[in-house]
């Protein structure tokens, strides 16, 4: 079983599924949002969201066969999108996905059912299906539950609500990016640009008495450029976003993204073969935090550790990385793609120090696993949608800055590999093997970045690689808002971050055997 992080998808279908993006200028949608945000009396909300009494009734039905805990998860997700191909606005789209998931826990057991039809009979049926996990005998009288609304802090940094911004304005961004990319270099043959925003509104009522709600909006601008020269073809991608408003793209301009996509693609034209074998590697700052996500993040999710299937199981308090490594998962950074006001179990998101100066401090935990382990939830219970039960997941995972100037780190390497930009990564939790794809890499020779190389992967085993992090830069940066993490078939948005780091040895998976320095 393995888990993965990717910055962009293989297919558009997958992308739509994973980012749940689409649709624009909904006239009625702002009304729904306005009601949600302005009025906490849930009964006033339109279809897609439930009132307090209904949720309490459903909790009672769900618990009627003797469960330990039940929860009602309500989701209403609006997605908007526009895309440009071959200088044309190919598509404008929107989508609505709504439904209710009901979960009952009994010991280690989970009963789960959901419905995308919101009439009470269907919801009642779902609650009954979920209830059976606890047994077949129904209680004579239904228990009663009283939930009280709790306000979670908003992680949105929005002035101009993307859901209310006219489609034309989004299209204007796409044209600006397209025009810039096509003008940037004569070798550009294709430019695809797209803009997606999604607005996920959730309510969670639990038998612990919680009633939380959160609006989790997200935007993203994507620019892909394809260049061709003498039969060599390369693709460059740039973009970004987060839980931010449309004004974000005054800073992260479409021109910037377009130039960056073209720069990446043209850099790779005529690039040398990547070296093969163990190398000293310097990771650039930002999206390279994918290293943490794969090398250690998944391995610290509590489900694997409760079950004893992670190689970090039972190792709290032990040294699992070099003393230069302090790794944090923080879900409550305003505006970040991986941030959430509350998790999908209604627990407020928080800052969790996972590794402190190399010592393992904490797993990321959800309701089920924290209860069974006798620990507190860390606000890490997340799910893709109401069709899925929650599990421990990451939010924004990053390493604290160190004391080295990034230039000093590069200068310290006599012969090595500089990995600046990345595609996706994947990890096997049980043996710790992880791999991630380098989309922009260079050779370092005598302390200087020299030739670009193409087609490399880095592969390692989590604790071994983190033990070899021997220099950490001052330049911590979080990624531009690109990550989607997959685990057990469920996708959730995440963030990663890293300062420039030196790793004394990692295996580089290139094709050039001669070029590798450290062959054993």
């Amino acid at each position: 079983m393995s888990d993965s992080l990717f910055s962009r998808s293989v297919s558009r279908r997958k992308f739509l599924k994973s980012t749940a993006a689409a649709g624009a200028g909904l006239l009625a949608a702002p009304t729904i949002l306005d009601v949600l945000l302005a009025d906490r009396a849930y009964a006033a909300l339109p279809a897609g969201l439930l009132d307090e009494q209904t949720m309490e009734k459903l909790l009672a039905i769900a618990m009627s066969r003797g469960g330990d805990y039940a929860e009602v998860f309500v989701e209403y997700n609006i997605t908007n999108g526009v895309s440009l191909e071959e200088n044309k606005i190919r598509q404008a789209e929107y989508g609505i996905d709504q439904g209710v998931g009901i979960r009952v826990l009994k010991g280690e057991q989970t009963g789960y059912a959901y419905s995308d039809e919101l009439n009470f009979d269907k919801l009642k049926q779902a609650a009954e299906v979920a209830s059976y996990i606890a047994g077949t005998a129904a209680a004579g009288t239904l228990p009663t539950y009283d939930v009280s609304p709790k306000k979670s802090p908003s992680m949105l940094k929005i002035q101009l609500d993307p859901n209310e911004v006219a489609v034309k304005e989004k299209i204007a961004l796409l044209h600006r990016a397209n025009d810039t990319a096509r003008a940037a270099d004569s070798r550009v043959t294709q430019v695809n640009t797209s803009f997606y925003d999604s607005h996920r509104m959730i309510q969670v009522a639990t038998t612990d008495g919680i009633l939380s709600d959160d609006r989790q909006s997200m935007v993203r601008l994507n620019v892909t450029a394809i260049v061709e020269e003498e039969g060599d073809r390369q693709t460059g991608y740039a973009g970004g976003g987060g839980r931010v408003g449309f004004e974000h793209f005054k800073d992260l301009t479409p021109e910037h993204c377009a130039n960056e996509a073209v720069r990446l693609a043209t850099t790779l034209l005529g690039a040398a073969e990547a070296p093969a074998g163990p190398q000293m590697v310097v990771l650039g700052n930002g999206w390279a935090g994918i290293l943490l996500h794969e090398a250690i993040g998944h391995g610290l999710e509590a489900d694997f550790n409760r079950k004893g299937t992670s190689l970090y199981s039972g190792r709290i308090g032990e040294k699992v990385a070099s003393k230069n490594c302090t790794v944090i998962d923080e879900g409550n950074i305003v505006g970040r793609r991986g941030s959430i006001g509350c998790d999908d179990e209604g627990h407020d998101s928080q800052k969790n120090v996972l590794i402190e100066n190399g010592i393992l401090r904490r797993y990321m935990n959800d309701k089920l696993n924290s209860t069974l382990m006798g620990l507190e939830s860390t606000g890490s219970g997340r799910r893709q949608s109401f069709r899925h039960y929650p599990m421990p997941r990451m939010t924004n995972t990053y390493m604290l800055a160190g004391e080295h100037d990034p230039q000093e780190i590069i200068a310290s390497v006599e012969k090595g590999f500089y990995a600046k930009s990345f595609g996706g990564g994947q990890v096997d939790i049980s043996n710790g093997n992880f791999v991630f794809q380098v989309t922009e890499g260079y050779l370092i020779e005598n302390g200087k970045i020299t030739r670009p190389v193409k087609g490399a992967n880095l592969i390692g085993v989590g604790p071994k690689v983190l033990e070899k992090v021997d220099m950490v830069g001052t330049d911590l940066e979080l990624d531009a808002g690109l990550g989607t993490c997959g685990k057990n078939g469920q996708s959730v948005p995440v963030g990663v971050g890293l300062p420039t780091c030196r790793i004394s040895e990692v295996t580089v998976g290139g094709t050039d055997v001669q070029g590798s320095g450290g062959m054993g």
């Binding site: 079983m1 598509q91 074998g277 043996n431």
Partner: protein, 447 residues
Amino acid sequence: MDYEKFAMQIVEKARRAGADEADVYLSHGRESEVSIRMGEIEILKSAGSRGLGLRVFAGNRLGFAYTTDFTDAAIDEFVRRTLALSAETSVDEFNGLPQLDKGFSAPNLDLFDPKLAGIGTDWKIETAKKMEKAAMAYDKRITNSNGAGVYDGDGTTVLANSNGIVASYSSTYCYLVCQPVADDVEGKKQTNYWYTFKHFYDELEDPEEIAIIAAQRCVRQLGATKEKTRKCPVIFDPVVAAELIGAIAGAVDGDAVFKRSTYLVDKLGEKIAGDNITIVDDPVRVRGLSSQPFDDEGVPTYKKAIVDKGVLKTYLYDTYTANKVGTKTTGNGQRGFTSTPNIGTYNLYLEAGKHSREEIIKSVSDGFYVTQMMGFGLNMANGDYSRGASGLWIKDGELAYPVEEMTVASNMIDILKGIEMVGSDLDFRDGTNSPTIKITEMTVSGT
């Protein structure tokens, strides 16, 4: 609910709202999961769900929307907004529905098992327990489990368009999986899985045999080390070979070809592999796991060789991309209700060769037998390929010892030409399938 009628009504509403053409793709179904772990029930999940996507063309402009809210009031608003969105997009003469022959009657591909809905939860629980128990009994080093599960369900796809086409088909599926965990050195573990996946309950493989294969795949990785970096022959077992064949499908996507963003552009009619390579896309295989009588635009599907004896015979198209290129759709338009069609394959496979698996392994004196791959290391634009790999090292024609934390790298053009042996062990256990293959040389990176 009569979903065909419902879909047609939405098409009609779209027409009345101003669409020149419109189609509705609707899917509904149910799913069930029974998972057990360490002998106890872990998860019981059961639910039904549905959704629809509406595509409209007005003045050659495309608008698209999807929803899971099927209430009357919501649908009227939904149709109105989809039309409004179409006004925002560019005029594109290649937009439009496929020209379909109304006389087409969809073949019955035998994808629906009426018996499956009657399989009780008790059987599923017992079967999952039996699998886990068998896997754990196989080897004393298997001390833990990621569980065993039985997943099943059904789905119905309904397609209606403004040319008067309305059609639907249903299928069932059942999936048994077992995932044992074995103890390795220094707190490390090894895990693996095996499965059986069928439309029909009666076709499921024996659960205990599944469990034993899972256990074997798990324990054979115990004590894995790293091998030296070098160039050498690489054998892909059927699981990872199927991933490679899937990567070839992505490269013949007509949209990517049109955009010149695939390494197989300009190669139609050329010899891209040896005579031993024939890659087939067969949507109409009876009881095939990825069979479909018509594609997701309603176009009848048909069996075709993408690569025939090494020659690239066709690219794959949906209606829009075919219109752009000036050719006919190949019936490869695929989508879920949340998107417009993309190009995809059905039962895709590399035809079986004549060599037994043992014969292929025997032919290698020093090389890598890959059983698992990780990561996203394929550059579709130029074919550069580098992925994480684990498996077994071959010494003097024998599987000698396990290896991990390795990568294999090459370029897809070289890989295709370098497939020197194809196994006879093709098994249709998944949507995309391949027999064992041997590649003459790749760069293997380790120590």
